[in-house]
Amino acid sequence: MAIDKKYIGKQWPTMVYEVGKEKVKEFAKAIKSTSPYFIDDEFAAQSKYKTIVAPPTFAVVFGAKLIEPIFFDNELNLNLAMLVHGEQEFEFYNVVKSGDVLYSDAKIVNIENKEKLDVIAIEIMTRNQEKKDVCKGIYTFVVRK
């Protein structure tokens, strides 16, 4: 069944995520990064950021906390077996530092019904504890019919 376009604009409650230094290092290792900004405490302390910062695409770690409830949303009723990640877009405003508390909001920004597939785009906007914008992610998923 096609995804109903009336759900464009649907929002989810704000998700809070506290950034842990060791989690950042683990993520950096997973993407095989050797950047000292992410993994070297001594370097990070002397850098302009003064602490370990997260790789840009660490945004998916806190983003996933919002994507999951959307995937299992009863109203949307997405067919996960037929869902693939089609496109991804990020805009980065301020780096994520270890110790930051991040507040993310998700909303559906687009739904398209095509002959053989549906497209659903979810925007996740994240701000930090200083109320500064951190990043915007647009996750576009394709659901084959």
Partner: protein
């Protein structure tokens, strides 16, 4: 300890090239770090069952490699301002990816990069890549 951060200057035509080997366990590492434990990434049998011919790497891991190639090149994770792509073709364990970028345009405060990410057969695994960095 590595040297302190320094600001790399950017001009049109500047470029980088990075090879990234996707080892046998990469999708499992990425699943643990990102939380994406979809069985299509970590279970080759499941991947075959759903017609993918085996396990495929999380697209966001490939995008993570790409972002890291850019921020390592400019020596500052805060200078990547925009990154966009289409996940065009699956990446498999054992693949070797080549990530290449060239500065195509420099504006007042931003530089646009032309970025390609190909596998060992020359197939573009990410397409329509858009990347912008702070200059």
């Amino acid at each position: 300890m590595k040297t302190m951060d320094s600001h790399k200057t950017i001009s049109v035509g500047d470029s980088f090239k990075v090879n990234q080997e996707v080892d046998k366990y990469r999708a499992i590492y990425y699943a643990g770090a990102s939380g994406d434990f979809n069985p299509i990434h970590i279970d080759p049998e499941f991947g075959k069952m759903v017609g993918l011919g085996g396990a495929i790497l999380q697209g966001l891991c490939t995008l993570g490699f790409t972002a890291d190639a850019i921020t390592t090149w400019v020596s500052d994770p805060g200078r990547l301002k925009k990154l966009k792509c289409r996940f065009a073709s699956p990446v498999r364990m054992g693949d070797t990816l080549t990530i290449e970028g060239t500065v195509s345009e420099v504006q007042q405060s931003r530089a646009k990069l032309t970025v390609t990410v190909k596998n060992q057969d020359g197939i573009e695994v990410l397409t329509k890549v858009q990347a912008e960095i702070e200059i």
